[in-house]
Symmetry: C2
Subunit: 150 residues, 2 copies
Amino acid sequence: MDAEARQHRLELLTDRSAASGLPVTAQRRAVLETILDMNNHPSADQVHAAVLAKMPEVSRATVYRSLDTLVDFGLLVRLCHPGRVARFDPRTSAHHHLICLRCDAVRDFEDERLNQIDPPDTSSHGFALQDLRVQLRGVCSACLEKENTT
Amino acid sequence: MDAEARQHRLELLTDRSAASGLPVTAQRRAVLETILDMNNHPSADQVHAAVLAKMPEVSRATVYRSLDTLVDFGLLVRLCHPGRVARFDPRTSAHHHLICLRCDAVRDFEDERLNQIDPPDTSSHGFALQDLRVQLRGVCSACLEKENTT
DNA sequence: TTAAGTGCAAAAGCTTTGCGGGTAG
DNA sequence: CTACCCGCAAAGCTTTTGCACTTAA
């Protein structure tokens, strides 16, 4: 994420905290700063490991709690993927993903045509639609190579 | 699932087992039969509970192992959703989902227009695309009501 | 001052695995 | 016969929670 967008996201933390009447703690800021610099859709544990580099005393529990709060604030998104551990994405605007069914890798996929899909009408289900994302499921290049080698 | 499709799926179990040189066990068949009759995208534990009704001695471990095998056979799909427990879907053909970000409900969504989306070219990423599914993320009717009540 | 947050350690789920005995092909 | 599977129980992971102390505002 570029410096300007990063800065803006950090300001949003201040705003959302004030709006909710919650304090801005050093730990929450560190978690947000850290994940803004990662682009692998990290798990909570990966975030924790990365936060330790800049703040060696942070506990795992705090990272879990901070991630929850940041998701509530709308500063992060909890990803949908077939694996068993929660993963987080600092890109909150709707975009699309390549999902590897072998190794569970999740990779951003940019496609103008997919962005322009008109959201369908979900009101007959009483459903309040927030965003539309396309999952492109298949096998990633790394797993394909591994298969050919074996 | 209608009777004919259900029957066909059970025959596929025999075929895929033979193709892999694996035996068709009563337990695997029971797990498949059970999940074909559920349409709530159940978790492994929910499948286990349902299998117990027709086969009271099945262990949880066997259900987990059977579900894995059935996914390998392509008779089930592991769902993508924001929650923390694995959930399974006997509908293996690509279709779309309403995903509730509050309660994690996953509901099938039929839409002809979404079915007709042309898959993008993912070859530049070295990615072998298998299918395209749209996630419609938002808040389901049950959660909306709960919110209005509070 | 005070509501909220933090670290620690323990608990709580969900899922996987090692093992001895059983079974499909 | 042989490879694979089953049930059981234990272990493994990820995530949540209770508690005493600290901190942002």
